[in-house]
């Protein structure tokens, strides 16, 4: 049963049993599970649930960090399938803003882009704005993705968007992350060519739109 398997995965994650989590994910990969399903139904679902437990003061922040670290350690199991897709010639830079330490969402977005043939560079958590800007200048991507988990970091995100836009007026920017579960998309209104992405299907719809046809 799929739900039993998820429950088993979740219990192992909370208990810090990395080996059990690894075995479950390896088993799922052997059944040829769709990568996006794996990301959404296991990685995202479990981490959101752990976030809720932490918010309800039922687990400590240490358990949350441990669960995140275990999840991070499971990504390499998926990579052989992620990186074998043929490239479509498009390049994206995916990053978290300064002070944003939750990077798993951004990493999943980068991986889904890879599955769609994009060449992605994932800069990870807490990327200083200047480094991000320099990196964009050097690598000239077709798209930049910024991930935001904590609403407190919204000003950093808006600053980053503004600075990127100053240098690259036409560059497409996508944003997403848990911060937008609570924030109205109005916060992005003053910005141009910025697209809020709420799901993998939205992401795939966006990159497959005419603007990105190869």
């Amino acid at each position: 049963m799929e739900s039993d398997l998820y429950d088993s995965y979740f219990q192992s994650l909370v208990a810090g049993d990395r080996r059990a989590c690894r075995q479950i994910i390896l088993g799922l990969l052997e059944t040829d599970i769709d990568i996006k399903t794996l990301y959404l139904s296991y990685f995202q679902k479990s981490l959101y649930a752990i976030g809720d437990l932490w918010a309800a003061n039922k687990i400590t922040v240490a358990v949350e960090h441990m669960a995140t670290a275990i999840t991070e350690s499971l990504f390499p199991l998926v990579y052989p399938r992620i990186f074998m897709a043929d490239h479509c010639g498009k390049k994206a830079v995916i990053s978290c803003t300064a002070n944003e330490y939750h990077q798993i969402g951004g990493k999943m977005v980068a991986d889904v882009l890879e599955l769609n043939g994009w060449d992605t560079i994932f800069l990870g958590a807490n990327t200083p704005l200047q480094s991000l800007l320099d990196f964009i200048d050097t690598n000239q991507p077709d798209m930049v993705g910024l991930s935001l988990s904590l609403q407190d970091n919204m000003p950093n995100l808006l600053t980053a968007i503004g600075k990127i836009r100053d240098r690259h007026p036409e560059l497409s920017i996508i944003v997403g992350g848990q911060a937008f579960s609570f924030a109205a998309s109005e916060v992005l209104k003053p910005t141009e060519h910025v697209h809020l992405i709420r799901s993998f299907s939205e992401l795939e719809g966006y990159i497959q739109a005419d603007a990105y046809a190869t």
């Binding site: 960090h65 990579y79 052989p80 990186f83 074998m84």
Partner: protein
């Protein structure tokens, strides 16, 4: 705040579970007791040491008795820990009847900083792993393309080369009407074409193996008779250079499961190399013997040998130690790379010992019990 009485439940908690250092000192500063946390954290075990000995670069003089009398609390100091890293604790001193009780609380800021550093390091490692894996996949794709190209090129070139060889033979059959110079030219065309064919066959083999298509067809054979037959075939070639091949079978060798076509390719390659790089009037010795659960075939020549700095390279593709044999024989530079993969495919081993100017000895093993 210091617990008023350290007994019963409190004492057990303090000793067994509390994540803080607790030390009982005598009035001279000698450590009489330490709780589990202190024993697990401090290096070395603090019991029996003087209080001043547990600190890193102890510059601040703290007399614990005096500190207790002055009711000093939250004095920061770094101690030696089992992790070989100094760690800061905030020490408080309390006078008790038997001496002094010392409590050390971990620095909250330090813990948070370490935690943050750990998360950052983990993230960085994870991202580097991703990039490495991505680069690795790119290299794998390029390698696949290279092998595909090699396979296609070799396959497509094989037919025209075959035609050149066949038509050279037809013309050679008309040798009566040819001048000596024309015969020599035809001979060069044929030899070069044969070399090209061998090179293409090796390229095809190599690209198939690289693409994971080694495809072994294992069947049970009398290994000794098999080796005898291959040695006999090579003896005819050896005779042209007046080289003698001697086969010694040192013990009873069981029948083995192996791919006879592929292993013949292995033995032919090793023997032809031995002949190629040997001088006239020398001997090549082939020994067969058991090595535990494996049968070893040893091919020892008295040839030119392999320079020390090249030994590690000879099983790599396109790395020939010498371009030509002692009498101008040519090689493709792929033979030993193919041979190695065939032997590994049988779960055997292959290696070489050599001394420049004295000769080389190649060994390869096959398991008595083959595993799919």
């Amino acid at each position: 705040m210091r617990p008023k009485s350290v007994d019963n439940v409190n004492a057990r908690f303090l000793n067994d579970f509390a994540e803080m250092i607790y030390l009982r000192l005598d009035n001279s500063g000698r450590i009489l007791e330490a709780n589990n946390f202190a024993k697990a954290t401090l290096q070395p075990n603090p019991v029996g040491l003087n209080f001043s000995e547990i600190f890193v670069a102890f510059t601040q003089t703290i007399d614990p008795l005096q500190a207790a009398q002055n009711e000093m609390t939250h004095v920061p100091a770094s101690v030696n820990t089992c992790a070989d890293l100094p760690r800061t604790f905030f020490f408080s001193f309390f006078k008790v009847t038997e001496g002094v009780d010392v409590y050390g609380e971990a620095s909250g800021t330090e813990v948070l900083t370490l935690q943050k550093t750990l998360i950052e390091t983990n993230n960085e490692l994870s991202n580097m792993t991703r990039q490495l894996q991505k680069n690795n996949s790119e290299l794998q794709k390029l390698n696949d393309i290279k092998n595909q190209f090699l396979g296609m090129a070799a396959h497509d070139l094989r037919n025209p080369i075959g035609a050149i060889i066949a038509y050279s033979d037809f013309v050679m059959d008309e040798a009566k009407s040819l001048t000596d110079e024309q015969k020599e030219f035809l001979s060069i065309i044929k030899n070069s074409s044969n070399y090209m064919l061998k090179l293409l066959d090796d390229l095809l083999d190599f690209s198939k193996i690289e693409a994971g298509k080694l495809g072994l067809d294992l069947s049970r054979c009398d290994y000794v008779n098999f080796v005898k037959r291959v040695v006999k075939l090579n003896s005819a070639i050896a005779a042209k250079k007046h080289i003698q091949i001697i086969l010694n079978v040192h013990e009873v060798i069981p029948e083995l499961d192996f791919d006879s076509i592929k292993i013949e390719q292995v033995l032919n390659n090793i023997l032809s190399n031995a002949l190629k790089y040997s001088l006239r009037n020398t001997t090549v010795v082939v020994n067969m013997f058991m090595s535990g659960d494996f049968v070893t075939v040893e091919v020892r020549d008295q040839g030119v040998g392999i320079p020390k700095d090249k030994i590690d390279l000879i099983f790599q593709p396109f790395t020939r130690v010498s371009k030509q044999g002692t009498e101008g024989e040519r090689s493709t530079g792929l033979g030993l790379a193919i041979v190695r993969r065939i032997v590994l495919g049988h779960r055997g081993r292959i290696w070489v010992e050599s001394s420049e100017g004295e000769g080389s000895t190649f060994y390869f093993t096959l398991p008595v019990v083959a595993k799919e």
